[in-house]
C-alpha cells in the first residue's frame, strides 16, 4: 500500500472524528451516560443504609399501585389525543401557508405561527391561567354574554390541558407539514381534479399519501414533546392533572426516591419508543424517510 495514501485516509478519519467530536461528546456525556446511570438506579433497591442490591421492586410498585399505571395510561392517551388535535388544526394552516399564500402574506402567516414562541413557555402558560381562571377574562366574558350564570372555573380540566398542549405543539406540527406540502406539485392536484376527483378523495388519495412522511414526522415530534411535557399539564391541570412526568418529578424531588423515579423515567422512554414504532408501522412509513422530512 502506498504509505502517503494510507496517511491521507488516516488524516481524513481523524478530521472526521474531530468534526464529530462535539456531537459525540454531547450524545455520550449528556444522553447515554445519564441513561446508563438511570438504568442502574432503577434496578437496585436499598436494603440498609448505603447498601444496595439488584431488584425489580420499583417496577413491581408501578404495577401494584393503580395510581401510577393509571397516570401512565392516561398520559399516553391524552398525548395521542393532543397529537391528533394538533394535526387536525395544523393541517389547514400548513395548507394555507404552503399552497394558498404567496410572497408577503406567506411570510406573515408563518410569523404568526412563530410569535407565541418568542415568549417563554412558562410565561405563555401562565398567560393562559390568567385568561382562564375563575376571576379571569374568559369566564367574565361568558357571564357578560349571558352564557353562564356565574363565572365558571375553566382551569383544571382535561380539556384545558389539551388546549394548552395543542397550543404549545402547533409550530412543531406546522413546520414539517409545510415542508411536506410545499413539495407537492400543484399540477398533481389539478390533474386529479381534471380526472374527476372530488376534494375529499384528492385529500385522501393524493395529498395525504404525499404528505405522509411530514405528517408522521410532525406527529412524532409533537407526541414526544407532549408526553414529556411537565409545565403545561401542571400549570393548567393543577395538582390533580395526573401527568406522568409529574410522578417522576415527585419521586426525584419530593420523595427523594431516585430509584423509583429512574424506573418511571425508563417506563416513559419505553412507552414513547413503543408508540412511535407503532405509529410508523400503522402509517407504513420508514423512520429514515420521516426523519429526513422533519
Amino acid at each position: 500500500m502506498n504509505p502517503t495514501a494510507g496517511e491521507g485516509t488516516l488524516r481524513a478519519r481523524l478530521l472526521l472524528l474531530l468534526l464529530l467530536a462535539p456531537a459525540l461528546l454531547w450524545l455520550i456525556g449528556l444522553i447515554v451516560l445519564p441513561h446508563v446511570e438511570l438504568a442502574l438506579l432503577s434496578l437496585r433497591s436499598r436494603v440498609a443504609p448505603r447498601v444496595y442490591e439488584f431488584s425489580l421492586r420499583q417496577f413491581g410498585t408501578f404495577i401494584d399501585e393503580p395510581l401510577y399505571w393509571h397516570t401512565f395510561v392516561r398520559t399516553a392517551l391524552m398525548s395521542i389525543v393532543a397529537t391528533a388535535c394538533t394535526l387536525v388544526l395544523a393541517f389547514p394552516i400548513a395548507w394555507t401557508v404552503a399552497k394558498l399564500a404567496r410572497g408577503r402574506p406567506r411570510a406573515l402567516l408563518f410569523m404568526l405561527c412563530m410569535i407565541p414562541f418568542w415568549v417563554s413557555e412558562t410565561v405563555r402558560t401562565l398567560g393562559w391561567t390568567i385568561l382562564l381562571r375563575e376571576s379571569g377574562v374568559l369566564p367574565s366574558l361568558l357571564v357578560w354574554a349571558g352564557l353562564a350564570p356565574a363565572p365558571p372555573e375553566l382551569l383544571y380540566h382535561d380539556a384545558t390541558i389539551l388546549v394548552g398542549l395543542v397550543y404549545t405543539s402547533m409550530l412543531f406540527m406546522v413546520v414539517p407539514l409545510i415542508g411536506a406540502l410545499d413539495t407537492l406539485d400543484d399540477s398533481l392536484i389539478e390533474a386529479a381534479y381534471n380526472l374527476g376527483g372530488s376534494g375529499p378523495s384528492i385529500l385522501r388519495r393524493i395529498v395525504i399519501p404525499h404528505a405522509a412522511p411530514g405528517i408522521v414526522a410532525g406527529c412524532i415530534v409533537v407526541f414526544m414533546l407532549t408526553l414529556g411535557n411537565y409545565l403545561t399539564p401542571t400549570l393548567l391541570g393543577g395538582k390533580d392533572s395526573l401527568w406522568f412526568t409529574e410522578q417522576i418529578y415527585t419521586q426525584f424531588i419530593t420523595r427523594f426516591n431516585w430509584e423509583q423515579g429512574a424506573a418511571f423515567g425508563f417506563l416513559l422512554l419505553i412507552l414513547s419508543t413503543l408508540i412511535v414504532w407503532l405509529g410508523l408501522k400503522l402509517s407504513g412509513q420508514r423512520f429514515g424517510d420521516v426523519m429526513r422530512r422533519s
Binding site: S187, Y193, N194, R205
Partner: protein
C-alpha cells in the same frame, strides 16, 4: 355535426393585462387542433379555461354541445395531459390509469378490464404494477395519455407534453401521438410553442399572438400562404425585409428594403405605392448557383458573398451578403450535395420566384 369545442368571444384579463382577447373558434369532431404561439401569448390561459381551472371574464365555451359556464373541471367531458404529465407518484401505473374510473364509481371488475385494455392499446401491457419512476420518458407520456383516454373524453387537451423530452424521443413521440390520435379518433387540442410539432401533428393550426389568433388553417396554408407578418415570421424560417413599396403591379410589389436590396414579392392584401411594407423570402425558396448561367431564366438575379456556412445536415443553409446592398440573406442548401464544398468568402449568385415571396403592409 356539432363541433366538439366551440369558443365564442372569450375574454380573459389579469389586472390590466388582456391574456385572451375576444377569441372565437371551433374544433371539429375527431380532429387534431393545435394552438401555436410564443410563450406569454395566452395559449396556456386559453387551455386552462377550456379545462375549467380558470373561468373566462366574457364569452362562452361549449364542449360537445354543452355550455361550460359554471361547470367545475371535475365535471367536464375534458381531460388534460399536463406539461410535466403530473402522473401520481404515490400510485402504480395501473392505479394511475384507474384513478378517473374509480372516481366515477365504475365497478371494480369493469375498471380492471378497461385499464388492461387501455394499457394494451398504448403498448404497455405489462406496466400495471410498475411504479411511475420506473418508466422511461416515452412510457410516462403514454401512461398520461392512457389515464385521460380511458375516460373517453369528448376532448383531450395537451399542454406542451413533449417539451420536457430530449430531441430524439420528441421526434419519436410526435409520430406516436399522431398515430394514437388516429387510432382513438378523440378530438385533440394541443398547445405548443414548437412549430414543427404543430405542423407535423395537426389537421388545423391556430397561430396565437398577444391573446389573438393571427391565422387558423391547415399546416400547408400557414406555411405557403401566411396571412400576417407574424405568421410568416413565426412558422418556418424566413428572411424578413423592412422597406417601402416602390411599385405595385397587379399581384406583385417591388420592395425597396431599408438595407438597399430591391426585390419583388407577391402582395398579401392591398398595398399602396410608397407604403411601409414587410417582405418575406423563405431560405428554401431561393435558388443558389456559382455561375449565373445556371440560374433559371426570367427571374431577378442577385450576387453575393458567402458570409458563413451553417451546416446542419438536411437543413443546412448559407448566410450571404448581397453585393449591391450588403444586406444579409439566408439561403437553404439543396440536398444534392452540389455545394458541399462551399466555403465562406466565395462569390455566388442567387434568385427566387417572386410568386413564392410574400409582402405585407407593415403594421402601423
Amino acid at each position: 355535426m356539432t363541433p366538439d369545442l366551440t369558443v365564442d368571444r372569450v375574454v380573459k384579463r389579469f389586472d390590466s393585462h388582456v391574456a385572451v382577447e375576444a377569441l372565437s373558434f371551433e374544433v371539429a369532431r375527431g380532429s387534431f387542433f393545435s394552438i401555436l404561439g410564443p410563450s406569454g401569448c395566452g395559449k396556456t390561459t386559453l387551455l386552462r379555461m377550456i379545462a375549467g381551472f380558470t373561468s373566462p371574464d366574457e364569452g362562452e365555451i361549449v364542449i360537445g354541445g354543452l355550455p361550460m359556464r359554471g361547470v367545475p373541471p371535475n365535471r367536464r367531458p375534458v381531460n388534460m395531459v399536463f406539461q410535466h404529465l403530473a402522473l401520481f407518484p404515490m400510485m402504480n401505473v395501473g392505479d394511475n390509469v384507474a384513478y378517473g374510473l374509480t372516481q366515477r364509481g365504475v365497478a371494480r371488475s369493469e375498471i380492471t378490464r378497461r385499464v388492461g385494455e387501455m394499457l394494451e392499446r398504448v403498448s404497455l401491457p405489462d406496466a400495471q404494477a410498475k411504479r411511475v419512476d420506473q418508466l422511461s420518458g416515452g412510457q410516462k407520456q403514454r401512461v398520461a395519455i392512457a389515464r385521460s383516454l380511458v375516460l373517453e373524453p369528448t376532448l383531450l387537451l395537451l399542454d406542451e407534453p413533449l417539451g420536457a423530452l430530449d430531441l430524439k424521443l420528441r421526434e419519436h413521440m410526435k409520430i406516436e401521438l399522431k398515430q394514437l390520435q388516429a387510432a382513438f379518433g378523440t378530438t385533440f387540442v394541443y398547445i405548443t410553442h414548437d412549430q414543427s410539432e404543430a405542423l407535423v401533428l395537426s389537421d388545423r393550426v391556430a397561430v396565437m399572438n398577444r391573446g389573438r389568433f393571427e391565422q387558423v388553417g391547415s399546416p400547408q396554408a400557414l406555411y405557403y400562404e401566411p396571412q400576417t407578418p407574424f405568421v410568416a415570421a413565426f412558422v418556418g424560417a424566413n428572411n424578413r425585409f423592412h422597406g417601402r413599396a416602390a411599385a405595385v403591379d397587379g399581384r406583385h410589389v417591388t420592395v425597396a428594403s431599408s438595407s438597399g436590396l430591391v426585390l419583388q414579392a407577391r402582395a398579401s392584401g392591398p398595398i399602396a405605392v410608397g407604403a411601409a411594407v414587410e417582405a418575406f423570402v423563405r431560405p428554401e425558396v431561393a435558388i443558389l448557383a456559382r455561375d449565373e448561367a445556371e440560374l433559371p431564366a426570367g427571374l431577378p438575379r442577385y450576387r453575393g458573398q458567402v458570409e458563413s456556412v451553417l451546416f446542419d445536415g438536411a437543413s443546412s443553409a448559407v448566410l450571404l451578403r448581397e453585393a449591391g446592398s450588403q444586406g444579409e440573406i439566408r439561403i437553404a442548401l439543396p440536398q444534392t450535395g452540389r455545394f458541399a464544398d462551399l466555403r465562406a468568402g466565395e462569390a455566388v449568385c442567387f434568385t427566387f420566384d417572386p410568386d413564392r415571396a410574400v409582402c405585407f403592409a407593415a403594421a402601423p
